[in-house]
């Protein structure tokens, strides 16, 4: 087992990761650039209100960013998603998103491809927070689907 994945088995580390991504979210600024797709996620929940942007070109996710008002779980899970999917091909991203949704639904998944996002492995135990943990990921999935449909 690699050193990274053993660290990612430590609940203390995972908790710190969530807190860190909430307090200092990555890729947390939207841009005004028409090359970006954008999805506003507010209808699913009365609280979270986030917008996710991505620049997808030639089957590659060149950039992902987000902004908005959301809880710890939404913010941190979206922040980790941006790190994880930026620079990936859309095929890789779809595979990773699929693995993430498997984890959230308490099905079998490959922790290695999810990296830090394994921090959300227990969210399935709190059904009311599943929406929080998937809001940014669903937005990204939607943009990948749209980019493929438009090609």
């Amino acid at each position: 087992m690699s050193q990274t994945s053993s660290l990612l088995n430590d609940p203390m580390i995972l908790r710190e990761l969530i807190m860190d991504h909430y307090q200092y979210p990555h890729n947390h600024k939207l841009v005004e650039d028409e090359r970006y797709r954008s999805v506003h996620m507010a209808s699913d929940s009365c609280i979270d209100d986030i917008t996710v942007q991505s620049r997808i070109s030639g089957g590659m996710i060149e950039d992902v960013r987000f902004d908005g008002v959301a809880c710890t779980i939404s913010t941190a899970s979206t922040s980790m998603m941006t790190d994880l999917l930026k620079g990936r091909s859309t095929d890789e991203a779809k595979m990773i998103i699929g693995q993430y949704f498997n984890m959230i639904e308490n099905k079998e998944y490959d922790p290695d491809v999810l990296e830090e996002a394994v921090a959300f492995q227990n969210v399935y135990k709190q059904a009311n927070r599943i929406k929080c943990a998937t809001i940014g990921w669903k937005a990204m999935q939607q943009m990948i689907d749209e980019s493929e449909a438009s090609e």
Binding site: P11, L14, R15, I18, M19, Y22, Q23, C46, I47, D49, V69, A70, C71, T72, I73, T75, A119, F120, N122, V123, K125, Q126, N128, R129, C132
Partner: protein, 406 residues
């Protein structure tokens, strides 16, 4: 006398789940045994539809349904024929707004309201703004969400046809001077619509004394079943108002050339088979509350809230937004913790509170945040529960809120 420990024995939820501290009474309330018995009594003893039944159980159901109108009339001091049963207060307010728009209002007429209203008392008016060209204007409120009579007077003029407002607001628990407002509004011939969702369950409500023309409230927030609301309207206004729904039970007769003769109010507003067991349960709930005494309930809750407010004010990790209001929810946040995360932490300690973006612009302007947590009390809550809550609330931190996932 008002003995909370005796009262708690009436509530199976309290007996079955003593581990829970239920402070989400603004959302819905527990049901006492007499309400459950009334609903089950109908199911087990005289299930039938209402109106025109020619057999024993149908006559009994008819009577129980009609008796509830009398109970509610006594509960809010009106005539039984001024009591319309709806699905909930949202349905009541939609009927009132749509009905006023349909037959009473004209383009350019003004509806006065406040920015502290629940969505149910704003969105139906917004639709009139769009469909009919009604203008919506907001009466200012102070830092605790209270609307002052001088500001109402300033906002009133001959174009104002409706003043729509909650007696007690749902986010901050601000008590509005409805009687004075109604008096002032009537000088201009405006109708007064009161949202009673957060007041009727907690204080004596006398529609005659308040002078309101229309009012709505929900059964489930006052120990009654879900799916039932009340629409009160002054009878001559109800008679002039058109119902949203048409169908069975509300028409006197109709013919193939499209003539419909409606029944009188209140029946004309109750198309289709009503929630019979729910209405019967609501009657039992109103009787139960009246047996405790609405003034006793209000006094007990006021003392409990003051106790709660004093304790929560002492917590350094908590921002408490409505210390000056004497009734309604305790509205707060954990400092540096998103409302839903803190509510989740309290939930992990078996404390039931509600976090939310309460869709009221006032929150942002008045207290500087969109999301808050509401701890809302009812007469069956105790100081011991407040103490347990305070112990848990003192532990609210980002770290603890995230820890519930591990």
């Amino acid at each position: 006398m008002f003995d909370v420990n005796e009262i708690r024995k009436d509530f199976p939820m309290i007996q079955n789940r003593p581990d829970l501290i239920y402070f989400d009474n603004g959302a819905t309330t527990y049901k006492p045994q007499p309400v459950i018995d009334a609903v089950l009594g109908f199911y087990n003893g005289y299930t039938s539809n209402v109106e025109r039944g020619d057999y024993e159980t149908a006559v009994k159901a008819d009577k129980a349904y009609a008796d509830t109108r009398k109970i509610i009339a006594r509960f809010i001091n009106c005539d039984p024929k001024e009591v319309v049963f709806t699905a909930n207060i949202t349905a009541s307010l939609n009927q009132i707004a749509w009905g006023l728009g349909r037959s009473f209002l004209h383009e350019g007429d003004i509806v006065l309201t406040t920015e502290a209203e629940h969505a149910s008392n704003l969105l139906p008016w917004f639709r009139l703004e769009k469909d009919l060209g009604i203008k919506i204007e907001y009466i200012p409120v102070d830092h605790q969400g209270v609307c002052h009579i001088e500001d109402v007077r300033k906002a009133l003029n001959e174009k104002v046809k409706v003043v729509a407002m909650a007696h007690v607001t749902n986010v901050l628990g601000s008590v509005q001077p409805i009687r004075e407002i109604a008096e002032a509004a009537h000088e201009y011939g405006a109708y007064v619509v009161m949202d009673g969702a957060q007041s009727v369950p907690h204080r004596r409500t006398d529609v005659r004394e308040l002078g309101v023309d229309f009012m709505g409230f929900s059964s489930h927030k006052m120990c009654g079943p879900d799916g039932v609301g009340v629409l009160y309207g002054r009878y001559e206004l109800l008679q002039k108002m058109e119902p949203v729904f048409l169908g069975g039970g509300m028409n006197a007769r109709f013919s193939s050339d499209f003539n419909i003769i409606l029944k009188d109010a209140p029946e004309k507003f109750e198309a289709g088979t009503p929630n019979i067991e729910g209405v019967i349960g609501l009657g039992a709930a109103a009787e139960y509350l009246m047996s405790l005494g609405m003034d006793n309930i209000q006094q007990y809750e006021k003392e409990l809230r003051a106790y709660f407010a004093a304790k929560i004010s002492q917590l350094d990790n908590i921002e408490f937004y409505n210390p000056d209001n004497l009734s309604g929810p305790i509205t707060f946040n954990g400092k540096g913790v998103f409302a839903q995360d803190a509510a989740g932490y309290l939930g992990s300690k078996n404390i039931c509170v509600r976090s939310g973006n309460h869709c009221a612009k006032i929150l942002h302007e008045v207290i500087g945040t969109d999301q808050t947590i509401r701890a809302s009390l009812y007469f069956y809550n105790t100081k011991e529960e407040v103490d347990r809550f305070i112990e848990a609330a003192a532990q609210i931190s980002l770290e603890n809120a995230v820890s519930i996932f591990f």
